[in-house]
Symmetry: D2
Subunit: 409 residues, 4 copies
């Protein structure tokens, strides 16, 4: 930190104290924020037009964990890594778990792959062919077994199932097949395990998607039970959708299980989280932090137990720097949301003061939170600038020996 940074922090602290913000508490809450990175985010991904292959991309699950560990070392915020089966299939999951632990990581959500096997071309759990539906269920059950072995508590389900043309599939029958599959898998969960159900507006289905929106995911989760929750991927919505509203709604129902973070301008663009519309990310965190303060135990607990996960497609970006940038973007917007003065805001809302209440939220967004983030890093002995630290670490050069290859997205 340059000299002016200490002054900047002092100034920041005075300024926030004047507003009634407990800066120490903010630093603590920021410090506790954990963001899971995905093993497939370290591999090459692309668009349907081309996958550009990069040097240094990991060749196996262990190298992905190596990369994830580097991101955690530099940011202190990414203690777990999500895996995708069969991309991360190994003979000895116990070994994978230990490999991660030795690098300061644990295995997070387990993600079954239900879209790359040729059998799944016209649907996995909703395929008209019962044999394929059953295959999909078996694969999910296999992933529950993997969860036990790697010590994971979250089964993260994304179904690419849908149709491309009217009439291609029987919508309601597919809906029931999906629920049957979920029911069977749900029954196999151990008590501490969660099933996170993801939805998506479209793609790869271009006419209808079996789980097309949060309403369908919530209804499915409601019918399953308390261990089933909804996973919100920020990019999986129709144009204009108010995502923070959905977040607030699901929190209020105790059904928000987790996030797949990324950002978008057009469709499911899977860009770096916070890059396209940082204010939206801030507003999502505003809803979450508001819920954390709620006197309703279920709501507050739900908010605290959210699984924050990154899920992006780095088409043109170097993988590890893109992941570091993502984590920093999340921290920045989270830190800003921590500066919202909730008492003042609630007063203004109660008085129906439209401009006043809007301003109360917006004020928090306009602060430069560099001092807050830096103090958190300083206290934890982390590099002030994780990106620069990465470039100076030599790791980028070192992994070039891996050559060109890699997988996943």
């Amino acid at each position: 930190m340059k000299a002016w940074s200490d002054e900047a922090y002092t100034l920041f602290e005075i300024q926030q104290r004047d507003r009634g913000i407990d800066v120490d508490a903010a630093v603590r809450r920021l410090s506790a924020l954990a963001v899971e990175t995905p093993s497939w985010g370290y591999g090459d991904s692309g668009t349907r037009f081309k996958v550009f292959q990069k040097e240094g991309v990991p060749r196996n699950p262990y190298e992905k964990i190596d990369d994830a560990a580097v991101v955690h070392q530099l940011t202190g915020a990414c203690p777990s890594v999500a895996i995708h089966i069969p991309w991360d299939k190994v003979d000895d999951y116990q070994y994978l778990r230990d490999y991660a632990l030795q690098r300061g990581l644990r295995i997070g959500a387990v993600n079954p792959n239900l879209f790359q096997d040729d059998d799944y071309m016209l649907g996995s759990a909703t395929n008209a062919d019962a044999v394929i539906r059953n295959k999909a269920i078996r694969h999910m059950l296999e992933c529950v077994d993997v969860m036990r072995e790697v010590g994971s508590s979250a089964l993260s389900l994304w179904f690419a199932d849908g149709t491309n043309y009217p009439g291609q599939g029987h919508i309601r029958r597919r809906k029931r097949w999906l629920q049957e599959a979920l029911t069977e898998v749900y029954a196999a969960l151990d008590p501490g395990m969660r099933m996170l159900i993801e939805y998506k507006f479209f793609e790869p289905g271009f006419y209808h998607t079996d789980l097309a929106d949060w309403g369908m995911a919530l209804q499915a989760a409601n019918q399953l039970g308390g261990q089933a929750q909804v996973l919100v991927d920020i990019g999986h919505h129709a144009p204009g959708t108010n995502v923070e509203h959905i977040v607030a709604y699901l929190l209020d129902e105790g059904k928000l299980g987790g996030f797949h973070f990324n950002s978008r301008k057009y469709a499911d663009d899977d860009l770096i989280v916070g890059a396209m519309n940082p204010y939206e990310l801030f507003l999502i965190f505003y809803q979450i932090l508001d819920a954390e303060r709620d006197t309703d135990g279920l709501v507050a607990r739900t908010a605290y137990e959210i699984a924050y996960m990154i899920d992006q497609s780095h088409v043109i970006e170097p993988k590890i720097p893109a992941m570091i940038r993502s984590v920093c973007n999340i921290q920045t917007q989270f830190a800003k949301a921590l500066l919202i003065q909730h008492e003042e805001l609630q007063d203004l809302q109660a008085k129906n003061d439209v401009l006043g209440a809007e301003h109360a939220v917006r004020t928090a967004f306009e602060f430069d939170v560099t001092p807050l983030v830096c103090r958190m890093r300083e206290e934890r002995g982390l590099p002030m600038d994780p990106m620069r630290a990465y470039y100076e670490s030599g790791y980028a050069e070192k992994i070039c020996e891996r050559g060109v290859g890699g997988s996943g997205w």
Copy 2:
């Protein structure tokens, strides 16, 4: 009917019989289709830029019923009329009911107005001010009383409630206030009454809308009980939304209560139903007719009990002709959907024959159903061309004596 029409019908019948379609049954089902018109659809409506006032627009609820009766006489398909309180407020609702009955109509859904009173500027049932929230509840309860007096069985609820700016309102608190209001009103319903809960993507709220999508409406209805269902206004969705999927989903849950028919290209454009994308309307009817055939009693019953209602904003169109055109468009697409060969389609779906199944649905759409619609009209002694019959009736000239005025949308 010109001479070639009889031949056309004969040919049509042979053609359909060859496909295994029971034309008589199709005529019967088409004949039984009832579409409710809205009293406010006979009055002037406009955009925020201008309400163009037309000659001959009704000056009171009775004249609206007169106009609705004309539409029913000409189409035979519109036996009920929806009312909006206080726009259709009268001293003696018994008299209004009888007035309608004498003209062959009954009163359909009762719609409380929760958006034009100055108090509701920042919300009705979700207003931060408890006095206003209570006022909204009282108004809905008043409408339940009106239902009893006019013999209506449907309370149709649209809340214009929402916010224009982040922070303006507390989203989750508003959610709970809304559910409290609905709960109180629901408790006042008589056994045979239904509460239809409408949702809307946006407008007049431009940041968040308290009931923003079908998922929120369904969750509210689920928490209320069996007399609460969801109302789908076709124009109230985000761009690209697959509306027929939502229709199928709600049918499968036994929760599709009714429709507000209209059409759109951009936002909630409220154009004549079937005018922008007739195929979408056909696909909606495909889902409904498929549900009517379901062996699951709840699904089939739900489909048969759907309240079909028109809700449009005729900004530049003459009102009565626009309504007649709307009814005809609905009949045309419904008739086409009646020509889907479900057995063949299910076979193709079971075989995962993508192009075949799509073609089976599309084939029905490509038929010219004029013969079918005309036979239905002939059997019931209705005019073959309701629009021409209207223009020839002299009614349009007669109502000019009303001058310029009118209300509602």
Copy 3:
């Protein structure tokens, strides 16, 4: 300013100087930013569902100028006011001009109203009726006369012209009628006058809009000549449209004439500028400031001569505070854009450093520019907090004597 503000400014200056930013130049550029407010923005406006009427809304053009003068006194940034004819029609325009001058204002753009006369229901300059087309042209020519009298140099044209249904109008014929009308009006312009041509994606036309996008407006302007340019209303685009790209494109062609500032989430929501997606506003200013630095004289001149105008619809907001907030939001994002380090950025772009270049832009956005904006205000003797100054001025109470009424949007 509290004590820490001086320190904040000092710190800010050091910080920026380290980055190679000339803070004095930034203050000067910010100080020179002039934003025109619209006379109709001080009156009541609404949605199609309801216009809520407020106390204290101006009753005539003079009171609108009074209000605009207050906004300029408090912000120092709004030296001109746009007028709308016939809403602001007066007998003596010379007097109106002087009235404004005495209050420190000049009359800015003159806006013909081509959508509220009953004749224009189905089009003004594109109406199938030649009499109505001619009437529209006469009205625009009348406005050119008004320009001369009030000393305005900009004719701001928005055509609400479009159709609601396929077939309703002949699209290409209407296109030619529009160009004929523009040609006739263009010929009447004095040398120093500009014609600003606005486009709109949809509304009030819900099928097609004669000037639907920037491409149509540019083509029209190209065919007219150098005094015709395009006016970009930020809310008049399809979902997802990259507005800053259009801005850059038009600048490069020397054809960006002005802006109508507001913000949106869904359609043409006309909310307070910068409220929904502040980053987008910043990115627009980035393109403009980049063009101001261009060595191509046409591009730089075009950028410097942009007419910045606010055009919003304050449905639920108090008018004058909403206008002050708008100006402040513009200043904030403009100030942030002034902190972009263009040399560094161009280096990174030249090296195809994706993450580096993105970061260079984003860095400027993350600064808190309060010190910069405050210094500008201080230097010019303006209130540090224009909103608070307004509330303390007593003006809000004073205008209550106007009662309820008002007009325009």
Copy 4:
């Protein structure tokens, strides 16, 4: 044709004659409609999640031509095939041309590939690196040479160029590089050659696309000259865009060069043309046929010289049947548009009869045009049902010997 088909045709002819439609002329116009199929449409394509490989997919350009020849034999409507370089690169283009001729085909548009070479990851003609920009220009010039050898008259240009993040590229500089590249390639065209410039809303660029809409493509074409025109890919627009309006606009400017046909519901879904919204396809043809009748020679000639091309991505469909279905869908909607009664329509438009004019267009759409299409096929000795003829031909089985493989989209 079954017996009732002759009767159906007779009835159809009487019905249309009564409306003043010249059925013989309609048959002739339909018969003259030529639709180019793309060589890459016979190969496997997919989404970013998976390319499902099919049996029987062509292994080289010659097999693609074999497949295209089959489609032409069965439909009589596809006399040319577009090629993509380097996907269809061969040593001897003269041989390729002759190979096609012997199968009744000619080579249509030549499409350079500017997105799959690793060098193009961050842009081809707009890359910050001059060496890569030059490489892109060389490749386009190479394609002009190929045009001469294969006897093609159309260079079809799609640039995947764009950026994923704000700041990543200098938007205006990229704009100028693109125009420079186009200018150099344009200069190399022989007199009879056309350059067709395609635009795209987004993908693979997710922040900005250098040629993002028709306005940018038109402006580029205008600056090049008369041999440059715009290519409209139906799926390359923002949600809600009125595509037929753009078509009409470009026709009126003499700048509509061709189409890439496909259909979409969400983004650039590349589904079978006419499958999602058949009415839109009909309305596009309405604009074209209206232009063909125009007395303005440029407009009519432009309409007659449109290059109709299919460009789809058959992810789950068998390739040849999908192509046959596409051609049939085009013929169906084109035939319907041929039934519009233009004189009646223009009368109604002139009278500002909104409902009447809309109905005049819609009436044509509601006819079943099977008799018209069948008569055209009968007259030309083509199979009545091309799809059935294909399945009965044994070709599908025969090509299975090719095994699994293929390329392109």
